[in-house]
Symmetry: C2
Subunit: 253 residues, 2 copies
Amino acid sequence: MNRIVILGAGNVAHHLFKAFSTAEGFKVIQVYNHKPASLETFRSQVSITANLEEIKPAELYVLAIKDDAIEEIAAQLKNRDALVVHTSGSVGMDVLQKFERRGVFYPLQTFSKNKAVDLKSVPFCIEANNDEDVVILEALARNISEKVFKINSEQRASLHVAAVFVSNFVNYLYTEGEAICREKQVPFEILHPLIIETAEKVTKMKPFEAQTGPGKRNDKKVIQFHLAQLKEEQKKLYSFLTQSIQTLHGKEL
Amino acid sequence: MNRIVILGAGNVAHHLFKAFSTAEGFKVIQVYNHKPASLETFRSQVSITANLEEIKPAELYVLAIKDDAIEEIAAQLKNRDALVVHTSGSVGMDVLQKFERRGVFYPLQTFSKNKAVDLKSVPFCIEANNDEDVVILEALARNISEKVFKINSEQRASLHVAAVFVSNFVNYLYTEGEAICREKQVPFEILHPLIIETAEKVTKMKPFEAQTGPGKRNDKKVIQFHLAQLKEEQKKLYSFLTQSIQTLHGKEL
């Protein structure tokens, strides 16, 4: 049995705690957080502590805490023979270099408190300093998800940037689209099916091949028609992205 | 019985022809296209012609043709008492002003030949010059879709621009995300669940409220970490969008 201590009590910690509870061969024996209040929801289910001195011996320590706190909290762990992992997408494995056995256990998904996430379909990116620990993390990950990938720190850094493009920036474009609709009292829900279809399409074909629109076609009449409707900032964004699409697709034609 | 003549033989014409075939109270009696070759797939199912002189009398003419051709083709229709509609998102109803009874029948979705689309969930935006014709178009649209909206030309123009933001531009961001992954041999499929989740989220909450990421948080460390990994053009795009997110969310904080 691999005993696990989770450090952290945020969204990721909560989701992992729940998922680990049914994982064969693993058992969460303690949850730590520096703020005692946020441990309350764990109290009835597992041993809790807000004191790093009281951390129990375990085979695996999972640091599900803010990026900036990982190195500092890890430094205070006394069990130097255990496997220590963090769950961050943007922090390298080397931040844990004081530990011979170190790794990363990164679920690539946006977690929010109010929305249930089915971890089964969440990709887990794992990395460890030696092959035996990769096997352990893989076993744990496969217990809770169908999508497990071995990803090194450099690759994970790229994934993290790419995620900003396909999620954070995409959501910003949704925001602009919604604003354009709102101004003319057009229900944004008219665009929902197109949004879903556009997303689903790139799970089946390359985004490069899925590109359509006036930018790709270089349809100057429609582009002018669109620009004339936009505010200054939106115009800049529209021109910038249209130019980028034309540069990308022009190159390859 | 409302007899329909479809003018055009592209993706939209094909999808509409199929959907109209089961619409109660309507019947497609002819399909026209200027290129006879593209009419072949219709030959066994309906009367076809490549000659505008041979267009049959009908109650409804549906122009599912390129934006630039709408006015010219419409001008050659002899039946001035019929209802004449086009299917374009970016062309006003007034391009059909020679017809007392004019309208728009615009399905807001990306159609491609190789991919089946369930029209039931495709929003249809309808507009007509008089209330009786709105009723006719609404009846036709409700026969084939569960989502029918009365949208005037100005609103439709906004929808068309907004669609570029939430679909064409979004797809471009997917393309950049895929390129970043490809460079480091990271499978793009790791990002598929995040892409779907990000899209589905804005069908349930406002995109403004769904915004997350280092730009929104103004996490300078992560932003620098990301910029350092990007190529010149990607850097510009990243900085531009991060700035836009901060301007938008800063204003409202």
